[in-house]
């Protein structure tokens, strides 16, 4: 991995570091409880509790406690599902595709992104299960051997494809995430003071000792999993989009959905990574490892995917007009100007307009703007799914059946509660697991850290008669003193 990297590239690890310092700084969050962590845990833990309460309420009384009606049979439930699945996309993208493309900036963010993926998929998985009228019969969707004769699953149903797509995605993501964690667990174990702490982390690391053979297998496993999960990045949201694309409902029945959904998923996934990383960076003082450079790289992806999504929205409108199909035309007319115009406006402004700021470098590198926009993007993406699902259903073919959906407190509680669950899991992860992949960061230390670059520059400077390529990293000055 000691490939050459131009000194003109910004380093991915700032500050004067060596391997000991990196270990210290990255393991420290698992060894002490930071201020603010408890506060956040209480807030989000309560919300997670409320999530459980709302689900119990739903199962006990029936789906009737939601705001659905005879015409709009899916609303916040599937909106939340698609939203969370979308958020879960960035993890795999970062760990798999960026790994294959050898994008080193992934090392600072991949661990948290993968964890986010796992938790987002857990949250997402709640909705297809609990939106069922008879959740106690949820096992019917698995192809288990039974004595019911010809009664079998319907492999034509996109919902069934979802089951396989999501469970595969979850399994592979979990493996990827966990296998990456093993060397780092061993690092924590090696520093651990208490007997039980040592024991637990040893167990978690599966007895990792760091032999060359283990590293070699580890690298192979990473590559295999990366290879396996790369198609998954594209397939999961493609299949989720089939839930809509294969139906007959105008506004759902659209061939553009797979690429549009995948782009949207990456878009929202990166935004969520940013939201989380900006907090983690601040709370755990990891500014040197999650640098402005990382943020900027992610913002570039956001402006790209945001623009893809924007083009998809406009293409949909064009195709609706071009199709000459009355129902399609009405669906999009209604989507933009009908009774849910406000949702469409939210979607357009948050998803298409706001990321355009990132064409300008100062905005890309501004933490406050990044934080606000990352939240905007996720609000926008939630509304995108709401717009697709609810406005299409509310006014479809027969005007006699048109209806209006209004959420109840249970709908809101489940959505907000799922954010609570997600954040609770993430907070627990951040407290007990290393939020930055220690081993991987160390792997780029010699290539892409400010320290290494400064050292190389110093060496080069001596050779080139004192010319120093870059002096902005502050390390040379420090060395000069």
């Amino acid at each position: 991995m000691h490939a050459y990297e131009s000194d003109f590239r910004e380093p991915l690890i700032n500050g004067d570091k060596n391997y000991t310092i990196i270990t210290d700084e990255l393991v420290r969050p698992t060894e002490k409880t930071y201020r603010g962590w408890w506060l956040l845990l209480i807030i989000f833990g309560t919300l997670a509790g409320f999530f459980v309460f709302c689900l119990c309420w739903t199962v006990f009384y029936g789906i009737g406690v939601w705001g659905l009606n005879k015409t709009v049979d899916w609303a916040w439930d599937i909106t939340n599902f698609v939203w969370w699945i979308g958020i879960g996309h960035a993890g795999t993208l970062i760990s798999a595709i960026l790994l294959l493309f050898r994008q080193r900036f992934r090392t600072g963010i991949n661990r948290a992104a993968e964890a986010m993926t796992i938790f987002a998929v857990i949250c997402a998985g709640m909705f297809p299960v609990f939106h069922m009228g008879r959740v106690w019969d949820a096992f019917f969707i698995f192809p288990y051997p039974n004595t019911r004769g010809p009664l079998w699953l319907n492999f034509n149903s996109p919902l069934l494809w979802d089951v396989f797509a999501i469970s595969t995605y979850f399994t592979v993501s979990l493996l990827f995430w966990y296998s990456g964690l093993m060397p780092d667990f061993a690092t924590i174990r090696d520093r651990a003071k208490g007997k039980y702490r040592k024991m637990i982390y040893n167990t978690l690391s599966f007895g990792w000792t760091g032999t060359a053979k283990q590293w070699q297998r580890f690298e192979s496993l990473s590559l295999i999993l990366a290879g396996l999960s790369t198609p998954l990045v594209l397939s999961v949201h493609t299949i989720v989009s089939f839930d809509f694309a294969t139906s007959v409902i105008p506004g759902w029945h659209t061939t553009i959905f797979p690429p549009y959904f995948v782009a949207g998923a990456i878009f929202s996934g990166f935004a969520m990574v940013e939201t989380l990383m900006l907090i983690v960076r601040k709370v755990f003082h990891l500014e040197d490892y999650i640098t402005i450079n990382h943020i900027e790289s992610m913002n570039k992806i956001i402006v790209l995917t945001g623009s893809i999504v924007g083009i998809a929205y406009i293409t949909e409108l064009f195709i609706a007009w071009y199709s000459g199909f009355l129902y399609e035309q009405f669906a999009f007319y209604n989507r933009a100007l009908g009774k849910y115009w406000w949702a469409y406006t939210m979607m357009m402004s948050c998803n298409v307009l706001s990321p355009q700021l990132y064409w300008f470098k100062p905005f890309r590198r501004n933490l406050y703007i990044t934080f606000i926009l990352s939240i905007f993007v996720n609000i926008g993406m939630w509304f995108e799914r709401f717009v697709i699902i609810v406005t299409s259903l509310a006014d479809d073919y027969l005007p006699s059946s048109w209806a209006y959906f209004q959420p109840t407190w249970v709908d809101v509680g489940i959505f907000v509660g799922s954010i609570g669950l997600f954040m609770t899991l993430f907070l627990l992860f951040a407290r007990f697991f290393p939020v930055i992949a220690i081993a991987e960061v160390k792997a780029i230390f010699r290539i892409s850290s400010a320290t290494a670059k400064a050292e190389r520059a110093k060496a080069a400077g001596t050779a080139n008669g004192g010319f120093v390529g870059h002096t902005t990293f502050g390390i040379l000055d420090k060395d000069a003193k």
Binding site: V65, L68, T147
Partner: protein
């Protein structure tokens, strides 16, 4: 060891037997794949053996570990004759409730009446029913019925009641005090005879008053024909029909009969390209007006003056009103085949109507006095007599029978005080109502389904009502009570027979021996005795009546109130029935409560909220005759400016279920004009700032979309005009050819070799009455969900009637184009379309909804996990989800959960009442009661299909067309719905399906629906005789 072959017959050995001899046609694919090694090769590998052993052991252990519920069933120790468990019995009977008459056949299962169908042998209602008839079976199992006689709030025994009341009656009659029976019209000859016995025993008086009054037309007929009766109307004989403010298809006199007759001349076909012309002159849009070919909008007061204008025009003069003159021209051109009816309760108006019909030579052709209605005999003077008599203390004792004047009288408040003065007040009411609450004694009548009775709806037509269930409670038939108090020892059954033997039997000559007549009547439900003579018209008084009308209605101002009877609720009698409360009004589609119908122009001017999404409607206060009501304003197209209409019957005060107290009572707003009640009066309307949620099931959306640039029309309903249809029988449906040609698919089509069930709905015959909706509810155990759930758009109806308005661009009526007036309405009954290429089927992950080999889209409730994807993907939106456990069918202990519900208020009281064992007696045992969390929808009455097939199989014959009729089909008074086998080339349905008028709703999306509709044809041609 060699494999030996064993066989049990030559067919097997020679392998000649066909696969369809097997009970299950399909191979079991799952077992097939596992068992393949065994069945095909006769050997099993050790691995397979172990796999199967492991699985079956585990499965057995799991199954044995689960506690199985203990289900108890009690066999008949002594099986009643006729009752075979699982087989339905049918009994002919007659329904006469709340002023409505219908000849019916009652379906019972294991001794319980569960469904009421029309009696096809009836000469009056001809097998048709109404929503009220269909829903009435639910009232039998109403927990709110009285369980025993009451004295005040105390329960007493019949002995005590008889003794106390008998003594009081005796002492009153001894003291020459006046005793009064106050009732609505009684159409039962034997009941009248029983009342006569009572009258003679105590010198009592019988006052008859109908809540929805026909006193005006009765008085008019008395003046002009000398007989106080309503004649028979023959809408089938009329080529031109003019209804003036008269909802004869929905509520007026005998709507089921009129709808059946009216529809006969509305059925067009390739061979018969003729239809009657129906012109409706009215203020508010009625169901009848919605089906008319032409509507003339007038203010409520002008409904009366229009009659006078029409009279002038018909008599050869000119009314000065071009529209009325045009109508008159059409009428005169069809002399002898035209008919004018008016819904007015003003005797003067009705006299003029009689004069018009006389001038048109309708009497003897389209109207006939040979048979007159016994169902409407009330006089508006009766209620005044009662009030005066009670107030003055002249009436000492009053018995209320089938009457609830404390709800329906305009002076109910005064009457309530007056009743307290009576020494004895008794009600025979079955359940608590306003009047019953105010009386001293309640002697509850038995339900009509528990009783012997007779009904003579029209003179010469006699029906016998027979009991179909033992009395559920300690009730006693009112007639029997009266007989008992009169000192008779006879039971009512013997009394009826005796009465018939004396009064009916001698009038006929067909049957020799009374028992022959009686048995046939009980079996067929009806005997008709010809006879009766036409009455002679006397014109004296018509001119003065005409001028009286002109004078009385000239100054009612620009804001007028029109009170009307709703199609579902009747006079208020049916407000206790949840099915009818939840039946959407044909025009407004509002359930659970009344409202003020306002013109659209008025709504725009006053900026009144009509929120289509949130169902918020601004409250308005309507004041008339010194009384006022505050109700939400619902704007309806096709309502004349200045017309504000409120339906009667709502605003109950005394019922056991608070949810039935919806709406406001508008009876106090009635005016008195001369001797009769007037349903039209001057009013003031005040807009309030509050809004109220209205449980409306369909808002006013338009199927034409002007917003998208030009008018584009959804292919939901299709219509044409008669001249167009005469030219081309595919008129209005021209695009179907192209749609069918474009219907190509890459996939192979499933063969339908056996039956292929199809349904055809004639949009031209459908009048939107809702009988089919209620019949479907009763047949298929469809739950009532209550007002709150309807507001949340969660009504469960499997069959709904979509109502669309269309505007003037569709109308080509001569030179006339009158915006706002030319509202056309289309009713479209919409049930599951049983698409051969059903979008719902391929999206269900567990294949809970699938296609039968007979073309049915079927639901396996057990398999459904409730993802609701099918409902989303249904373009017709006919699938319904069980949001809650509406009928106590849940896997969980319903009662325990319900207790929580009571606290949470998630389920309405009405819905919870359905979970009581008593209410559950009405459930059809052939139809699964759906649990919470599953999707349900129209099954094409698959239980009836199965029953029909089984019967044919038992009788060893092929299934005949007409063996299977769906519930909606039997209920329909106009025969708009035809069901049958498309593969049966002689079936009725194939004729309809092949008709050029047939089309499928939005079939261009390739759903291949098995329900087709026939284009609506409007008779826009000016009829020339």
């Amino acid at each position: 060891m060699e494999d030996k072959v064993y066989w049990k017959g030559l067919e097997e050995l020679e392998n000649t037997s066909k696969q369809n001899d097997k009970e299950f046609a399909d191979e079991l694919p799952v077992l097939g794949s596992i068992m393949e090694p065994i069945t095909t090769q006769g050997s099993t590998s050790r691995r397979d053996f172990l796999k199967m052993l492991g699985f079956s052991t585990t499965a057995a252990v799991i199954a044995a570990g689960c506690e199985m519920p203990v289900r108890k069933s009690i066999p008949y120790a002594f099986k009643p004759e006729e009752v075979i468990p699982g087989i339905a019995n049918y009994y002919a009977s007659a329904f006469y409730q709340g002023g409505d008459y219908c000849a019916v056949v009652v379906k019972t299962r294991e001794g319980r009446p569960i469904k009421i169908d029309g009696n096809n042998l009836s000469s009056v209602t001809k097998g048709g029913t109404s929503a009220r008839v269909q829903a009435s079976v639910l009232s039998l199992y109403d927990g709110a019925r009285f369980k025993n006689p009451m004295k005040g709030k105390e329960n007493i025994t019949w002995e005590a009641a008889d003794k106390e009341i008998g003594e009081k009656l005796k002492s009153i009659s001894d003291a020459k005090g006046k005793i009064v029976i106050f009732s609505s019209s009684i159409a039962s000859p034997s009941t009248l005879a029983a009342i006569a016995e009572f009258k003679s025993a105590y010198g009592a008086e019988h006052l008859v008053s109908d809540a929805i009054s026909y006193s005006g037309i009765l008085d008019a007929n008395e003046k002009t024909f000398g007989t106080r009766a309503i004649p028979s109307y023959h809408f089938d004989k009329a080529k031109v029909i003019v209804g003036v403010g008269c909802d004869f298809l929905g509520t007026w006199v005998s709507p089921i009969e009129f709808a059946a007759d009216w529809s006969k001349n509305r059925k067009v076909s390739k061979e018969n390209r003729k239809m009657s012309r129906h012109i409706q002159i009215e203020s508010a849009l009625t169901m009848t007006g919605a089906s008319a070919d032409k509507r003339i909008l007038v203010k409520p007061s002008e409904e009366a003056t229009a009659v006078v204008d029409l009279y002038k025009a018909v008599s050869g003069g000119s009314s000065g009103n071009a529209k009325i003159d045009a109508v008159a021209k059409e009428l005169v051109a069809n002399k002898g085949a035209s008919l004018v009816v008016s819904g007015s309760n003003d005797a003067n108006v009705q006299m003029v109507v009689n004069a018009i019909n006389e001038a048109l030579e309708s009497y003897g052709s389209t109207i006939s006095f040979t048979s007159t209605y016994n169902t409407k005999a009330g006089s508006d003077k009766a209620s005044a007599q009662l009030l005066d008599g009670l107030s003055s203390g002249e009436i000492k004792a009053v018995i209320f029978y089938n009457a609830n004047p404390l709800l329906t009288d305009r002076n109910a408040d005064k009457l309530a005080d007056a009743i307290k003065k009576a020494a004895l007040s008794v009600s025979f009411s079955e359940r608590l109502d306003e009047t019953t609450e105010a009386v001293q004694y309640v002697c509850p009548d038995s339900n009509w389904l528990e009783s012997w009775n007779d009904v003579s709806p029209k003179t010469g037509v006699y029906n016998v009502c027979q009991p179909t269930i033992t009395k559920l409670f300690d009730t006693r038939q009112a007639q029997e009570t009266l007989l008992k108090w009169s000192g008779s020892k006879e039971n009512y059954y013997d009394f009826i027979r005796a009465h018939w033997e004396k009064n009916v039997y001698p009038k006929q000559s067909k049957y020799s021996g009374f028992n022959a007549l009686w048995d046939v009547t009980v079996h067929d439900g009806e005997v008709v005795i010809e006879g009766g003579s036409e009455a002679k018209f006397s014109a004296s008084g018509v001119d003065s009546a005409a001028s009286a009308v002109s004078a009385a209605y000239s100054n009612l101002g620009d804001t007028q109130l029109k009170l009307y009877e709703s199609v579902a609720m009747g006079n208020g009698y049916w407000t206790d029935n949840p099915f009818l409360q939840e039946l959407p009004d044909p025009i407004t589609k509002v359930t659970w409560g009344n409202y003020v119908i306002v013109p659209i122009s008025w709504r725009k001017k006053n900026k009144v909220t009509n929120d289509l999404e949130l169902k918020d409607y601004t409250l308005v206060k309507v004041t008339a005759n010194g009384k006022s009501v505050t109700l939400p304003a619902v704007a309806v197209p096709g309502v004349a400016d200045g017309t504000f209409a409120i339906c009667l019957g709502y605003g109950r005060k005394a019922t056991n279920n608070d949810e039935l107290k919806v709406g406001q009572n508008a009876y106090p707003l009635l005016a008195l004009l001369g001797d009769n009640l007037s349903y039209v009066s001057k009013a003031t309307v005040e807009v309030l700032s509050q809004t109220e949620k209205v449980a409306i099931t369909q808002s006013h959306h338009n199927i034409t979309l002007k917003d998208l640039g030009g008018v584009k029309k959804r292919k939901v309903v299709k219509e044409t005009t008669l001249p167009e249809y005469v030219k081309d029988d595919a008129a209005g449906n021209e695009d179907r050819k192209e749609i069918l040609e474009e219907m190509v698919t890459l996939y192979y089509e499933h063969e339908k070799n056996g039956h292929h069930w199809n349904m055809s709905v004639d949009l031209n015959s459908c009048i939107g009455c809702g009988a089919c909706v209620t019949a479907c509810n009763v047949e298929n155990n469809v739950p009532v969900v209550g007002k709150d759930q309807v507001i949340r758009s969660r009504e469960m109806h499997w069959l709904r009637i979509d109502r669309y308005f269309t505007y003037s661009e569709m109308i080509q009526d001569g030179t006339e184009t009158l915006p706002g007036e030319n509202i056309d309405v289309v009713f479209q009954p919409l049930m599951c379309q049983h698409c051969d290429n059903a979008p719902c089927e391929n999206v269900c992950p567990v294949a809970a909804t699938n296609h039968s080999s007979e073309g049915l889209n079927q639901m396996a409730y057990n398999r459904c996990i409730g993802t609701r994807y099918c409902a989303n993907n249904c373009p017709y939106k006919v699938r319904r989800f069980n949001w809650y456990d509406y009928q106590g069918a849940d896997a969980f202990d319903g009662k325990r959960v319900s207790k929580f519900w009571a606290n949470e208020g998630l389920l309405s009281q009405t819905t919870k009442n359905q979970q009581e064992s008593l209410s559950r007696m009405v459930l059809n045992p052939d139809v699964t009661v759906r649990s919470r969390g599953v999707i349900e929808k129209c099954s094409f009455c698959v239980q009836r299909i199965q029953e029909g097939k089984l019967t044919a199989k038992k009788e060893n014959r092929p299934l005949k067309d007409g063996d299977i009729v769906t519930a909606c089909q039997t209920a329909c008074p106009t025969n708009a719905i035809i069901f049958g086998d498309k593969n049966d080339k002689a079936s009725q349905v194939i004729i309809k399906v092949m008709d050029k008028r047939a089309f499928g709703v939005i079939e261009e999306i390739h759903t291949m629906p098995n329900v087709t509709y026939l284009t609506k044809v409007r008779n826009r041609e000016e009829s020339k005789a």
